[in-house]
Symmetry: none
Subunit: 411 residues, 2 copies
């Protein structure tokens, strides 16, 4: 909370503008060929020129050695220590499919599973049924009714779905409820057990829903039962306007990132298409209305997850060409270029490696050339930059400082 | 505790192997001759070649500016914040002489002292009596008997000894008891005063023992009295297997390091001899049985304490030649080369300077040449490395990450 107490107390009204350009999974690892990472191998003349006038560093998303999921990684970028602020898995899953979660909703991740005649689990993922089968089952589950509660069931993919319970006005649900998935085979699913007294009525409702749903599923093997995990509500995170004094907007094309941005109080702006150019168009259109823009690029991560070094480098080159000059043309006061975590093509997954980060403002103290290949934006250059190895949660306070949006602390 | 909560929750079973090579007191200071430190002046072709493919940084053992003792410094390397986890001085002293301390034992550091006819202290160290005199007194003190309690008295050296009280089965002793040493002359020793109610019966026993011991010592000036300090029990530290999921082994030749390793749940492996080659032989013999090896080299520190720059550089060269290639031949997944603290020959003592550290793994992001003299393992090269200046407690989480032994945090 220290960050927030400080920025909340010191925040100043200002007209300055901050852009937080986040290439998902930006950090990489060297390929054998020339020892360069995806970012180092990409031709990025605009980012390299910016690096010569900027400060570089390596951002640690959660803690050294820890590989973050997308939710915690973005919380960190937004200044919320992911170990202190937790978005429940049910909420993340609902946000991930773009469900319009309300503050009083309880969301759960659902898994179809297979049970035998004695009700013992034989497959926790129901043989990974195809998404099309899932889409046939979900409408059936929508028929299960609960007294005074609105229920929503939505397909995620394969054996995964989302259940949302929405209480009537004035009613409150509580979500300290244990998973029903016993995480092993040959035993029955567990009941939804309340972990505190306040959650007991909600657990009762959840068990009613489960009973009705299992009755329907009994005739649909291999998905003849289900489990619920990660029951959770909107965590009620502090909001950008309150803690930073920023009117904040999110420009993203994937539901999960829009969802997390909404939880911290950002306005999610409409993007007409899925191309980087469409996102830039949204930035231009709404430039006058906000102080802070979270600009999310998804495809660096997807390419990394696919193990496609060249495609990831290609996305970075596209960002360099299509986004960076367009942002600079708008004359921001602070531009941070970073990622939420590393997704090295070599690992085909998120990783623990710290994330190359560039901070430019007219009041930054430029590093000059720090890279082994001169002035450039790359992991090695960032490893020798003056931001050092720093917690990602520092980015927002640094941005506010460089945007002249914070008062002096003490006399 | 955050480190432990995270690693305990996220730890994964794996077959990867981690070696933590610790040269005691590794960090140094430049000599006038050529401005190089002990490590920089040493010819270390193997470490230098490794440095070119590794990540470098400077580890802070406790906090910036703070000089650690060996106990806290090693706790830090093992991931235990030395300010949070405390090994009492009595326990450290017992471990330091290789005493086989049991979890229910209470250990105290003892100092012989001199008192005058009125019982007032005239020399807190009994004129620094020779160790031989100490060895004559200790058997006499073993005669002091306590009801239902086993007592052990062991020589450390000069005026220092260790007292251990071992309760009968089912009985519990408590060690929140103040030192008897008033830390000034011209006053009598203090009674052993319990600092909480639970410790009162133990304090009573300690005072009985002191009375018996002083009666015996009265005829042996200048060691005609004694004081007890740092009464303590095994602190019950979290264990490596639990918090990291590692079967851990220690290879060390000095009692203190074996003792601290045992407190964190490592198996202490037998070493047949005192040479570095003997330690390597132990590593080879037990390679298949463990996931993590703490490999301790003592003589860098001894040479630094003696102010012998050349000898310290020589030990480092010996490590480079005899240990580093042998470890690499075993094909570890992660190798960290570091020290527990600095012991610059120029200071002839432990110091607060952060410790040069090298982390190699096939999944590290190599720094390339960072040193003023090219790619090398040295203080200056580490000062520009991508690990930055980091808390020593980060080493274990970083090792686990690079060994692919941690699950993703959050979705």
């Amino acid at each position: 909370m220290a960050n927030f107490e400080l920025t909340r107390t010191l925040k100043l009204p200002a007209k300055t503008k901050i852009v937080h350009l986040v290439m998902d999974g930006l950090g990489g690892l060297p390929r054998d060929l020339d020892g360069k990472t995806e970012l180092e191998a990409a031709r990025t003349p605009n980012l390299d020129a910016l690096a010569a006038r900027a400060q570089l560093g390596l951002a640690v998303p959660v803690r050294p050695g820890i590989t973050p999921g997308s939710g915690p990684a973005h919380l960190g970028l937004f200044g919320y220590d992911p170990l202190e602020f937790d978005i429940g898995r049910g909420v993340l899953e609902a946000l991930g499919i773009g469900f319009d979660l309300q503050p009083e909703d309880v969301a759960a991740r659902g898994n179809f599973c297979t049970v035998d005649d004695d009700g013992l689990i034989t497959d926790r993922r129901a043989g990974r049924i195809p998404t099309e089968f899932n889409q046939k089952l979900v409408p059936l589950l929508r028929e299960v009714e609960l007294p005074g509660i609105q229920t929503f069931v939505e397909t995620v993919k394969e054996y995964r779905f989302v259940l949302v319970l929405r209480p009537a006005a004035g009613q409150t649900l509580h979500a300290h409820i244990a998973d029903t998935d016993p995480q092993q085979l040959g035993v029955p699913p567990l009941p939804a057990r309340a972990l505190d007294e306040a959650s007991e009525p909600t657990a009762e409702l959840v068990n009613q829903w489960i009973a009705g749903a299992r009755e329907i599923l009994a005739n649909h093997p291999p998905a003849n039962s289900l489990n619920l995990r990660g029951l959770a509500k909107d965590p009620g995170l502090p909001k950008f306007q309150d803690v930073y004094g920023l009117r904040a907007a999110a420009i993203a094309t994937y539901p999960m990132y829009k969802g997390v941005a909404k939880l911290v109080g950002m306005e999610v702006l409409p993007v007409d298409g899925e191309a980087l150019e469409d996102e830039v168009e949204t930035l231009r259109t709404h430039w006058a209305e906000y102080d802070y823009f979270f600009f999310h690029v998804k495809k660096t991560d997807s390419a990394g997850e696919d193990g496609d070094f060249e495609r990831k480098a290609g996305v970075i080159e596209h960002v360099d060409e299509a986004i960076v000059p367009a942002i600079l043309d708008l004359d921001p006061d602070v531009l941070i270029v970073t990622g939420d975590h590393s997704t090295p093509a070599a690992l085909k997954s998120h990783s623990w490696h710290p994330v190359p980060t560039l901070l430019w403002s007219r009041y930054c103290r430029p590093d000059g050339p720090t890279g082994p290949w001169g002035a450039e934006f790359g992991e090695r250059a960032c490893g020798r930059g003056s931001l050092g190895v720093f917690p990602a949660t520092d980015e927002l306070p640094l941005a506010l400082g460089h945007a002249l949006r914070l008062n002096k602390y003490g006399a």
